[in-house]
């Protein structure tokens, strides 16, 4: 018996902080994003300020739109493609930043270096009056606090049974999610996150102003658990290779409709210039790690606007 996945009330910060995943096995099995704050997320309901959407991808038969939703704790990418026609139409209709609700499925993209990037595939969304956004944020805070309290209780008494917790009205789903959350994030400091909810409460009460619209450039937020090993500076030969890759990336991007360079096309061009497949991959990976090149969509590359 598998019932509909509930829409977890979450802040965008909870989505940003989630790096663990549970993949279902078997046919039509659901996947879950496990959050450090007691969520086992598949479907979520979020509220915040939605930025105007931009079209991504250049295949006109497969339109795909992306916007960012910002709440007082952070922001998350909201996408919709031709498989969500209604949500896509709604997303395209957003022409200036405005309060909105989004119901969607979470999606974790993991880059080759292990960086997690969470986005939200919209099932339904609606721009709403500010009061409705605040009302949903109120639910988000209340339920997030409930889950944090549950985590604390479970951490304090690891032997507590699901039954005894469920008997006082705590949903079994939440208990199971909280146990998994404690297991996957054993030494996570949850206090800063909890403190951050104060901003959301101020927003609910109307004492905080509207969340400013997010910065225009949606980029991959790089989080590393382990600092990258320091490398020796690149040799002259390596620099020449990098220059070649960057040159060709510019050319490919310019020729494309969406200003992104297709990864495969780029690699093909690079190899035709004498730089072999695995070597080209290495150079590209190094450029990405150094923040010179970014891959905001799988398989689509561009130069970073602010190289580190």
């Amino acid at each position: 018996m598998s019932f509909r996945e509930p829409a977890w009330r979450v802040t965008t910060r909870e989505l940003e902080a989630s790096t663990e995943e549970e993949r279902g096995s078997g046919e039509r099995a659901a996947s879950y994003l496990l959050s450090p704050f007691g969520g086992r997320l598949n479907r979520v309901l979020v509220a915040g300020t939605l930025s105007p959407a931009e079209a991504v991808g250049r295949d006109e038969s497969q339109p795909f739109w992306r916007a960012r939703l910002t709440d007082p704790t952070g922001s998350v990418a909201v996408t919709a493609g031709s498989f969500q026609p209604r949500a896509m139409a709604q997303l395209r209709a957003v022409t200036d930043p405005r309060p909105a609700l989004v119901v969607g499925k979470v999606h974790l993209y993991r880059g080759r270096d292990g960086t997690g990037y969470v986005s939200l595939r919209a099932e339904a969304l609606r721009s709403v009056p500010e009061s409705e956004e605040r009302a949903v944020l109120a639910e988000v805070v209340a339920q997030t606090l409930d889950r944090l309290d549950l985590l604390e209780r479970l951490a304090a008494s690891p032997g507590a049974s699901e039954e005894s917790l469920a008997s006082d009205g705590t949903p079994r789903l939440w208990v199971r999610a909280a146990l998994e959350s404690l297991r996957r994030y054993p030494s996570f400091d949850r206090a800063p996150f909890r403190a951050g909810l104060a901003a959301v409460i101020r927003r609910v009460g109307g004492t905080a102003s509207v969340v400013p619209p997010p910065p225009p450039a949606p980029t991959v937020r790089v989080r590393r658990d382990v600092p990258p090993p320091t490398r020796t500076p690149p040799s002259a030969a390596e620099r020449a290779e990098e220059a070649l890759v960057l040159d060709l990336l510019d050319q490919v991007a310019e020729a494309s409709l969406d200003n992104y360079a297709d990864r495969r096309e780029l690699l093909a061009r690079v190899s035709s210039q004498g730089l072999g497949g695995s070597r080209a991959e290495e150079v590209l990976t190094r450029l990405e790690e150094d923040g010179v090149v970014e891959e905001p969509i799988v398989g689509k590359l561009r130069l970073s606007e602010r190289p580190s």
């Binding site: 019932f3 099932e123 609606r126 605040r134 209340a142 606090l145 949903p171 789903l173």
Partner: protein
């Protein structure tokens, strides 16, 4: 009752105590339903009459098969005495077969076992499931209404409503007038459970007795109707019930929602001009909304009819049809309905039933339940501050 039955003297039993065994038994029971047919034998192709149906003596109901029954004099309501039937079992429930070895004859009402209400175990409503019977319950009549129905040719009045005790609520239907009034506290003895449109229902028939109670530990009718909403996780666990109250936000619509066409005879929705039962018909326009309501712990489907859909949507069937004539794209209507509903916080009370996809509630009342922002923010800050220590 003899302590050790001997083969010569069948032991008289109540149907409740009937177990598959070789020891001969006898019992008196009433035929509740029966159906006569002929079965063709495989060996020689000859046809043999069979009467089958349900027997009850007030303690239990069992299925019976009667080979070569008398041509007449046996019908629904007849009381029979059966000596030495074969007692078998099907899916864990006993059933009896009357063969040439059995002796079955008419009996009088007076021979039916006399049942003292004290003999019926007392049960609470939550533990009752079809096809339970032979119990008594102490309940509050939450509401009752009479309805005229036609059973075959016959017109009958059925009394329907809601009963409740501390464990939960259950809908009921009574086929005789027990003079039940909303607010009454009663003891019901000898009813049975059946499944009606996916939900359990307590049936009070002519064998049921109702006794008024002076005092009882029962919820008031108002308490049941105004019960605070329960979390959807709990509703999903418990599988709905006759009176469920939930509160959540609209997170989606399920098809078909919006403008639908219904068969003029049976009200089923018409697909491509064809009713599942009545074939090609001219469908009548109607509005409905299958709302997914979610409170973060679970989700239920609310099956809203025309009146509720019109109120929530803020439009009328006529207006919707007029717009459809201007812009003949029904999917636009569904988008508009979703736009009108998505994210709204609703409190819904109604009858819940559960299947493989979850709980569906047929609403009796739908109210807007938006939060008061100021007081909610205060509560949240108080909670936030106090927990910071």
């Amino acid at each position: 009752m003899p302590a050790t039955p001997t083969p010569a003297a069948p032991r008289e039993v109540r149907l409740r105590d009937l177990r598959p065994s070789d020891a001969p038994v006898e019992f008196v029971a009433r035929i509740v339903t029966c159906q006569r047919r002929e079965v063709t034998r495989k060996s020689d192709g000859s046809r043999r009459p069979l009467l089958s149906g349900l027997l009850s003596d007030g303690t239990a109901t069992v299925r019976f098969s009667w080979w070569d029954p008398p041509r007449e004099g046996v019908e629904r309501g007849t009381v029979i005495r059966a000596v030495a039937p074969e007692v078998g079992e099907f899916r864990g429930r006993p059933e009896v077969t009357f063969t040439w070895r059995s002796r079955v004859g008419p009996a009088s009402e007076a021979e039916l076992p006399h049942l003292d209400p004290a003999e019926f175990p007392r049960r609470s409503l939550r533990d009752l499931h079809p096809p339970d019977e032979g119990f008594r319950v102490e309940v509050r009549v939450v509401r009752v209404a009479e309805r005229a129905v036609s059973v075959g040719e016959e017109r009958r009045v059925v009394f329907e409503g809601l009963l409740a005790d501390r464990s939960g609520a259950l809908s009921f239907s009574a086929w005789s007038d027990f003079r039940l009034r909303a607010g009454d506290a009663v003891e019901v003895t000898g009813g049975y459970l059946r499944s009606f449109r996916g939900a359990s229902q307590l049936v009070l028939d002519e064998r049921t007795t109702v006794r008024r109670l002076e005092q009882a530990d029962l919820p008031e009718a108002g308490e049941v109707l105004d019960a605070p909403p329960r979390s959807m996780a709990r509703v999903e666990d418990e599988g709905g019930g006759a009176s469920v109250s939930v509160e959540g936000r609209v997170v989606g619509l399920l098809p078909p929602s919006g403008l639908v066409y219904r068969c003029p005879q049976c009200r089923r929705s018409v697909q491509a001009g064809v009713c599942r039962v009545h074939g090609a018909v001219t469908g009548e326009a109607d509005l409905r909304a299958r709302i997914v309501l979610d409170d973060g712990t679970g989700a239920v489907t609310i099956n809203a009819g025309r009146a509720d859909t019109e109120t929530l949507w803020g439009t009328t069937l006529e207006a919707v049809r007029a717009r459809l004539r201007e812009q003949p794209d029904p999917s636009v209507l569904e988008s508009e309905l979703l736009e009108a509903l998505l994210g709204r916080r609703l409190r819904v009370r109604g009858t819940g039933s559960k299947d493989d996809f979850g709980v569906t509630i047929t609403p009796e009342q739908i109210d807007s339940a938006e939060l008061d922002l100021e007081s909610t923010a205060e509560q949240l800050s108080a909670r936030f501050g106090s927990a910071r220590r």
